[in-house]
């Protein structure tokens, strides 16, 4: 029984946007992975650029570390646009 490596797929749908994670798939190597990703994740012209990354190559932060890792940023609420009350008549902000 052959087991194929797992790849995570990121797609950028338009110039000017970032790649976003859309899912994963199995493929024996990178060439097949990127081609399979095109077939599976961009059938409705949903992609300008595709990245595939071996799932094992991804280092993830641990949810347990969340408090010390992320809380300092949570304090700085002025980074979030909802913190500011902008009068309705000001547009494009």
């Amino acid at each position: 029984m052959s087991t194929e490596p797992l790849w995570e797929v990121f797609v950028r749908s338009r110039r000017g946007l970032s790649h976003i994670h859309v899912g994963s798939l199995h493929a024996p190597d990178a060439e097949m992975a990127v081609r399979n990703a095109r077939d599976v994740y961009t059938r409705r012209q949903e992609g300008v650029s595709i990245w595939v990354v071996p799932a094992g190559a991804i280092t993830a932060s641990s949810p347990d570390e969340k408090d010390s890792f992320f809380d300092p940023a949570g304090d700085k609420v002025y980074r979030h646009p909802t913190f500011y009350d902008i009068p309705d008549e000001v547009r494009h902000l």
Partner: protein, 269 residues
């Protein structure tokens, strides 16, 4: 009456079964039938492919080809101006009136036979559409402009699998070589001049099939070599598809494809 190239005294030399068509109609119909028949064959792989990713990939290629077929058949119908639309042409012609190359009607076989067929035929379509982009027929030029992008991908897909099957395991190598041997007798026909094509080429409407052989081989042969496969040297070559002379496989294919449509004459679906 279009002259048949068959030699007197041969089994197909005096054959008159195919309906006579104006050369331009026959040419466009041939390209459309190639795409239609192969799309049908690829449809047979759905829910039977070696992995789910290949069900999706082969369906993709099949859908691209079906799209090409519909445009080409509709165009042939317009050129003929006898009121036949894409469905009338697909579902109401008999075996001797289909103008596809024999390579596309060959049964799928195993994944290696299919891969061999996809490699040979996609590489042919690539060269064909590359030249048809400059056709004096604006519809053909437009079809080719879109299709070249599609068949670039089809050819690449077949290449990736040829490499993996040829240079994978002993079993896959054996099967891939056997697949090539099954398909190669039908390669030569792709480069034969069909009836009256010379006239169309002279008017800039068609691509000369004979000129496609060299660039085709320049792509395909190195792929086979890299895949550790031998280029087959078939003793027999299939001929006659453009004149409506097919292998026995086509009759069964059409029976399945056409039966329901023909069972309800005039119905809309």
């Amino acid at each position: 009456m279009t002259a048949h190239p068959g030699t007197p005294g041969t089994w197909d030399g005096g054959s008159t079964g195919a309906t006579v068509l104006e050369p331009r109609v026959a040419y466009v119909l041939g390209l459309g039938d190639d795409a239609l028949v192969l799309a049908h064959r690829l449809g047979e792989w759905i829910a039977a492919a070696p992995q789910i990713e290949e069900d999706i990939a082969l369906a993709n290629i099949g859908l691209d080809l079906l799209g090409q077929a519909r445009t080409l058949l509709s165009h042939a119908g317009e050129l003929e101006a006898a009121g036949r639309d894409e469905d009338a042409l697909a579902y109401l012609r008999d075996e001797r009136d289909f103008r596809n190359l024999q390579i596309v009607e060959r049964p799928n076989g195993d994944f290696a036979v299919t891969t061999a067929r996809q490699l040979a035929f996609s590489a042919y379509q690539y060269e064909l559409y590359d030249r048809l982009r400059a056709s004096a027929d604006p519809t053909l030029a437009a079809v080719a402009g879109k299709a070249i992008k599609e068949v670039t991908y089809h050819r690449d897909h077949a290449t990736q699998w040829t490499l993996r099957l040829g240079d994978g395991t002993d079993e896959s190598h054996r099967r891939m070589q056997a697949g090539l041997e099954q398909i190669w007798p039908y390669v030569e026909e792709m480069f034969e001049p069909g009836p009256a094509v010379a006239g169309l080429v002279a008017h800039g409407l068609a691509a000369d099939p004979g000129l496609l052989r060299e660039p085709w081989a320049a792509y395909v042969h190195p792929v086979l070599t890299q895949a550790t496969l031998a280029v087959p040297e078939p003793a027999f070559h299939g001929h006659g598809g453009r004149r409506g002379l097919h292998t026995e496989a086509l009759g069964h294919l059409l029976a399945e494809m056409q039966h329901l449509h023909r069972a309800h004459p005039g119905a809309t679906w």
